[in-house]
Point group: C2
Chain length 354, copies 2
């Protein structure tokens, strides 16, 4: 790489001062059209690009957003949760649309993340993404607020939380899914996923589940709940636990699609058919949900919209405008995994008709 062209080189070539080059290239109205054109063409021939480091240093900003992706360290580390992958895609798009670069960082190990990015001027603001134990994050969030760091986080939207949170209406989503299972005739509906306030999104889904049960005059039975983080394996194990417990159930509501898919595998291995013996629903609507067999009934979180809102609210903060937490609607997607009674298999019908 031979010496990169600087604004002085352009100035020299165009026969103006370096200040004028800078102004022209930044689109200042203080430069005459003709001068601007001359400078522009000089810049083009020298293949000049403004040095971001210098520009940012001087302007004290960065033009980039940092996406911090928290993954539960216990998760299988080869795969990122597909839901977050979708979010990542939409956040990337939304950032680009608003002229920001996006820096991505996984935060499984580092503990000092709360200051790493904005403190070191790598990013103007932070997007926090990830399921995970909220309690252990909370004090860091408060520190972030105290420091004046601009950030938005994806998660449960509840009163009294530090900073700006964007999330979907987990309570309504949990309620919707459970109501649907009840309408399908299910009476013993299991909930797979952590149901404590440690994981507020799951907790809200659980609360929605419990509300739907009570509204239908059904009992919330603790035997029907088993903890699980968002992995297929955890879903598998939670379903196994239920089965070993001897719990009787005619439906399973997984707190996430990954959990539901894991449960599906456990049920199949025991010879239980879905939806024939057990109706099944998940949460997230990851791409896989519509492809598995049977296709998975789930609560859709609109990741496209989510990315837009996250970026929008963060950019507002950076611009000094007020930003607000927002709750996005949850939408029930009914697919085959919950549709009962299952149409009678053709061969059984034939046998009976003999």
């Amino acid at each position: 790489m031979k010496g990169k062209a600087t604004s002085f080189d352009i100035a020299h070539l165009a026969g103006v001062s370096q200040s004028t080059v800078s102004r022209a290239l930044r689109g200042s109205p203080l430069v005459s059209e003709e001068t601007r054109r001359r400078i522009q063409s000089a810049a083009d021939t020298l293949n000049y690009k403004v040095d971001k480091n210098a520009s940012n240093l001087r302007r004290q900003h960065t033009g980039t957003l940092a996406l911090l992706l928290f993954e539960d360290p216990t998760a299988d580390d080869s795969h990122i949760n597909p839901f977050f992958l979708s979010m990542l895609g939409s956040i990337t798009r939304a950032s680009a649309q608003r002229g920001y670069d996006l820096l991505i960082s996984f935060q499984q190990f580092s503990r000092d993340w709360h200051a790493d990015f904005t403190g070191s001027q790598k990013a103007d603001g932070l997007i926090l993404l990830g399921y995970g134990d909220y309690q252990s994050h909370r004090d860091k969030l408060e520190k972030l607020v105290a420091q004046g760091t601009r950030f938005v986080r994806w998660g449960a939207v509840l009163p009294g939380q530090p900073g700006v949170s964007i999330g979907c209406d987990n309570f309504a989503g949990g309620r919707l899914a459970t109501q649907h299972l009840i309408e399908q005739g299910c009476r013993r509906i299991a909930f797979l996923g952590d149901a404590t306030p440690h994981y507020p999104e799951f907790h809200e889904r659980y609360r929605g589940y419990a509300a739907a049960l009570r509204e239908a005059g059904l009992r919330v039975d603790e035997v029907l709940q088993a903890d699980a983080e968002t992995t297929e394996r955890a879903g598998y194990e939670a379903a196994e636990l239920l089965l070993e417990r001897g719990a009787e159930f005619d439906a399973v509501f997984g707190a996430s699609d990954l959990i539901a898919i894991g449960a599906l595998r456990a049920l199949s291995e025991r010879g239980l058919s879905v939806p024939g013996d057990v109706a099944l629903a998940g949460f997230d609507d990851i791409p896989m949900a519509s492809f598995i067999n049977p296709s998975l009934t789930t609560v859709r979180q609109d990741t496209g919209k989510a990315g837009e809102v996250l970026v929008e609210q963060l950019v507002r903060q950076i611009g000094g405008e007020g930003a607000e937490s927002a709750m996005l609607p949850a939408q029930l997607k009914v697919r085959r995994s919950s549709l009962r009674p299952e149409p009678e298999p053709a061969f059984r019908k034939m046998l009976r008709n003999q």
Copy 2:
């Protein structure tokens, strides 16, 4: 945000010069242990972080890698190809492991990407990722080389290509999949995907396909090939085209999993069963491949390994070491979609045994 602490503040607090602060914090051996400790604790109490912009400006480097993701503008723009999403995950991890930040950028629209990142000192090197028309990229790659830009690209590894390419052995993969279909008794195997050198990865897969056919004494029939880019929709349409043409085939090899999955839908809609009537294979092994029904036989590209190698070779270039193109092995994953003859359905057996 109250005035951020600078190295001068630390110097003042620790009672040393600013230069010493800088040295201590960068781990220079020129600083005594005791001084270093004093400086470190001052930095901690003031919550000091080195300003990356200033540091990078001075050191003339950035510590970040840019991942440019090219997507075919005709693709459904709401979804990123899951294969690239996997790559993105593994590249992110590999970069973090080597201490680089990763800047992500989608390049559907911008045309000036070849200089945007390294020229403006946003990144030390580029990772180019995306299927796409190679011919139209080629001159940009050459410009990149001419400029001395460090980059690696994911794609076909062929002689005479500009720069460093990492890719999987697409020829071997295509051949493997086709051989497997032939072993399953298929004789009329369709190929869905562009088969021209414009898309070198697909072309290599096609060449592997053709080689396997010839080796088995089978004819390569143009009627059995239909173009498709990497989307489910394109796969669906290509299969439709084949069907409308009245082409007779007993197997379909999709140049990517997405194409194969689209073809599966088209076949099902026509009442053709997979693998009963038509055996099916794809390429990539995206997560969905193992979840659809029937599960999809495919050629696995190891994205974890790919990300590591891409980052490794790029970092070597940045460090002034020589980097080399590399071809990663392709691995056949046999699943249900290609296993013929299909076990006889239970009810048919019953009927016959009456």
